[in-house]
Amino acid sequence: MPQGPPQRDKDTRFAILAALAVASFGLVVLGLLRLQVLEHDQLARLSDQNRVRLDVIRAPRGAIRDRAGRILADNQPSFDIVFRPAPIESTLRVRTAIAPDWLARVSGAIIGDTLEIRRKVQEANRTGQTAVLRRAAPYAVMAAVEESRSDLAGIDVQVAPIRRYPSGMLAAQLLGYAGEVNDRELEERADKGYGLGDLIGKTGVERRYEDVLRGEDGAEFVVVNAMGKRVTTLEEGPPKLPISGRDVTLTIDLDVQRALEIAMGKIERGAAVVLDPRDGSVLAMVSKPEFDPNEFSRGISFDRWKELNSNGAFPLLNRATQSAYPPGSTFKVVCMLAGLKLGQVDPDSHMPTSCSGAYYFGGRRFGCWEHGGHGSLNLVDALQHSCDVYFYQLGLRLGIDPIEQTARALGLGERTGIDLPAEARGLVPSSQYYNDHFHTGRWPKGVLLNLGIGQGELLTTPLQLATMTAIVANGGHAVRPHVVRQIEGQESAKLPRPVEPGVVASSAIWDAVHLAMHKVTIPGGTANASRTVPGMNVAGKTGTAQNPHGNDHALFVCFAPLEAPTIAMAIVAENSGHGSEWAAPVAGSLLRQVFLPDTGSVAAKAARVAPVPVDTTAD
């Protein structure tokens, strides 16, 4: 061997290199022991968490039907774009810090607002729950997401039922809408198992019967790949099947509701309620303007939401139960009833001062709407012609508290207890009320005059007026208006009967009130326009509520048929003028559609009997 280090030196060096190799491979062995023995349990668990995910199976919400079983709200499948946070303890905890380019890709793919997506993703990461980034995504968005799935870690497409309102705007405020649960609701209902992205009833029947309509979500373990895409379900651990929400059948009659919508067609703002006076069930309820609850199912943008809420018309407001108006002359029915009941007047009574177009009291002039004067009228004729001078004097004679008590017995001044959320109370002043607002016993007697014709502090909701009319129609039996007739799987959905007994009065008294109200609807009365069905007698009362903020509100209450009432209703048309001109024709149109159903389609009927202003300005 010509060159190189001596063999002995070579052996030493070989020993050193061999030792280095042993040490290096020993290091690898140590690393393997640590991972595969010491940390095996933990890493095996992480491996499972990596691949196994608990997916929610959404329970469909119960359907809402009309009294004949026709669908008013049900569900349809929607493809939602969701974000699923990684298991908290697992490896992708990175996602808690949202990368700007990831965010940009996501918002680009789903065409969404970056800030909104960031907020939802942060929330999802915080709670570990799935967040719905876009509900009911159109096909193009879904395709975009599927295409770039590998760049959109955590993003998934999920099929979930969303709410469908097949009739669109029909009875929108009554049905309400269901939307994604918000932070406050999550907090309030923490114990009821609500999670991010859950649907919750927000208004109307959807809200009031949330606990019934809402089903119980199921769950299943699914195996997912690194992209979060579902590969298969896990063999071990069968799915927990979802339990659908229960159906709710309303008292609403779709035909009557449609008829009322058509009858209200020309009213820009206002409300109408149709009751069955025998039991208080709501047959139809309309609040104008309306909105399309389907918009909320698809996920409403913040801008659109603001638009709906800041618009002065407040379409989301259910004016039938949540707005209170002065009852105007419709309140004269209350005064008439109170007078007869207390024996202060009888149907033939005349008042000391006959109507010359005005009444003078305490040095002030109180006008009658008929500037020419009505002359001397008895009680029945005074109601027929709505003579203010007569009712000023009746009010004075009765005093505050008798009027107040009768009004309350007829369901005014207190919530009716209808099964709809956020009902307004209205206001019927008592002497106590005036004592509180003025000095005790020092309030002017003039308030009594105003009370007599339904002005002043009085406030009533259209629903309260309809309830009052129903009680008058059925001869004094108190009814509790309600919208739900039956709940699936429940014997009876009946609300507790009202505690108030109603109004106890002799049949002679009721006959007189009914006669007077009937005379309102015949030629010479103020609501001839409501009498549209030949041969059927109607009883009603118009009203015009003075509105300090604008044009007067037009009101009309009525029931029919006179002899055996099956319909009682109240109509309020905001800022439109006289009740006889604007509200009574709505009733006429409705009655014709309901009681003459064989004269063609509802639409055709509507064209024929659409409310036409008549040339009377009577009230």
Binding site: D9, A21, F25
Partner: protein, 404 residues
């Protein structure tokens, strides 16, 4: 006449074949899930046949031939390394490949072999005295040129096998250990700085080394200057690294910091290996692998698939086989009858050893992610051929160890 087996190094041969067998089986498993890579194992088997052919030829030709062509080969490989920058194919932000018709190869692999030959030839000299500057300086430059070119591609993993080889060959050629360590002190300087964040550890080590080596004044001053310069320029050098290189180093030092990129790979690799436990989830049954959590599972992170599916048993078997390869490689170096052969064997074994360690330590999270494939196991034609050529060269030495 009795048939006599050729005097191959049989443990080395069988260990290599065992590793390639495990590699083929694991590539099959890693690409068995639906996806673009299905069927790669068949291609890899084809490469294996080609690679064995190469190894056979390389082993048959006497190593003196490689000795004689070492300089021209070295020069050619440097030209190829430069050519990469001009006509190279870019993949994942790095230019490492040259296309020749249907074939692609990495000039860095040829440079690695050529540098080994040149260094072995240089050190195999009667008057070699590594204490003298004129003897130890040229090898440093011989190594630095290809190192710099490969690092520029950039391919830090392969590049760093050049200095590793140089150090081993210096050592084998008789450089005193103290001098060698002193020469490596800038590396310790960098490593200790990153690991401890303080210069004092290194200062203590450096003083100890000086006391041991007792260098001449010129060397002393030079080393002091060099280490001072390293300490000053380190931050500036840092800024010259590619972003992804920085990220890899940062991620290595603190994997939790960025689990989305390189950290994600390491964490998933650790989960795969660790969840395998003692005997693994069973061949073809790795869930990490199947559900694509494990990145580059048939190439750089193939060892993680072994760990997941075959457990500690499988991973230790692989370690054992690599141990045999490295041990036999150094053993052949120590029994070779010829200086060139001996030095060549050390260089080649060290290059293999280095790649094995860098990859394995990476998969268990103890080395940065450098994109170095695991010899014999990872999918890839060029790497398999080059690795088999390296074994062929070692067998070349074995076949001629009884020559005189």
């Amino acid at each position: 006449m009795k048939f006599r087996l050729p005097p191959l190094d049989w443990p080395l041969a069988f260990a290599t074949l065992g590793l390639i067998g495990i590699g083929l089986a694991t590539v099959y498993s890693a690409t068995s899930v639906p996806g673009a890579h299905q069927g790669l194992w068949a291609k890899q088997f084809l490469w294996f046949v080609v690679a064995v052919g190469f190894a056979w030829i390389i082993a048959a030709v006497h190593y003196r031939f490689y000795d004689s062509i070492s300089w021209p080969l070295y020069a050619t490989s440097l030209v190829a390394l430069v050519a990469v920058f001009v006509i190279g194919v870019e993949r994942l932000g790095a230019k490492r490949w040259i296309e020749l018709g249907p074939l692609q190869f990495q000039p860095s692999e040829i440079a690695k072999l050529a540098t080994t030959f040149v260094l072995a030839r240089f050190f195999d000299h009667a008057r070699l005295d590594l204490r003298k500057l004129r003897w130890w300086m040229p090898p440093v430059f011989i190594t630095l040129i290809p190192f710099a070119l490969v690092a520029k591609e950039p391919d830090l993993g392969t590049a760093s096998s050049f200095p590793a080889m140089l150090v081993a060959m210096f050592f084998w050629a008789g450089m005193p250990a103290s001098q060698l360590l002193l020469g490596l002190s800038p590396i310790f300087n960098v490593a200790l700085f990153f690991l401890t964040g303080s210069v004092w550890w290194f200062v203590a080590l450096f003083v100890g080394l000086l006391a041991w080596a007792r260098p001449r004044v010129v060397v002393l001053v030079a080393m002091l200057a060099l280490n001072g310069a390293v300490a000053v320029t380190l931050p500036k050098l840092w800024n010259h690294l590619h972003d992804y290189q920085k990220r890899r180093i940062e991620t290595f030092l603190n994997p939790e910091q960025d689990p989305s990129g390189a950290g994600y790979q390491v964490i998933q690799s650790k989960i795969a290996i660790g969840s395998g436990g003692l005997v693994g989830k069973g061949y073809l049954k790795g869930s990490q692998k199947a559900l694509a959590y494990l990145p580059m599972r048939h190439t750089d992170f193939i060892y993680s698939v072994v760990g997941e599916e075959l457990g500690l048993l499988g991973s230790l078997t692989v370690v054992l086989l690599y141990g045999i390869v490295v041990f036999r490689g150094y053993r052949l170096a120590s029994i070779a009858r010829d200086g060139f052969a001996s030095l060549m064997a050390v260089g080649i074994t060290t290059a293999l050893f280095f790649h094995i360690m860098v990859n394995m330590l990476m998969t268990i999270g103890w080395a940065p992610v450098t994109g170095v494939p695991l010899p014999f196991l990872s999918y890839g034609g060029t790497a398999l051929i080059v690795n088999c050529i390296q074994i062929g060269l070692l067998q070349n030495v074995a076949l001629r160890r009884r020559e005189y």
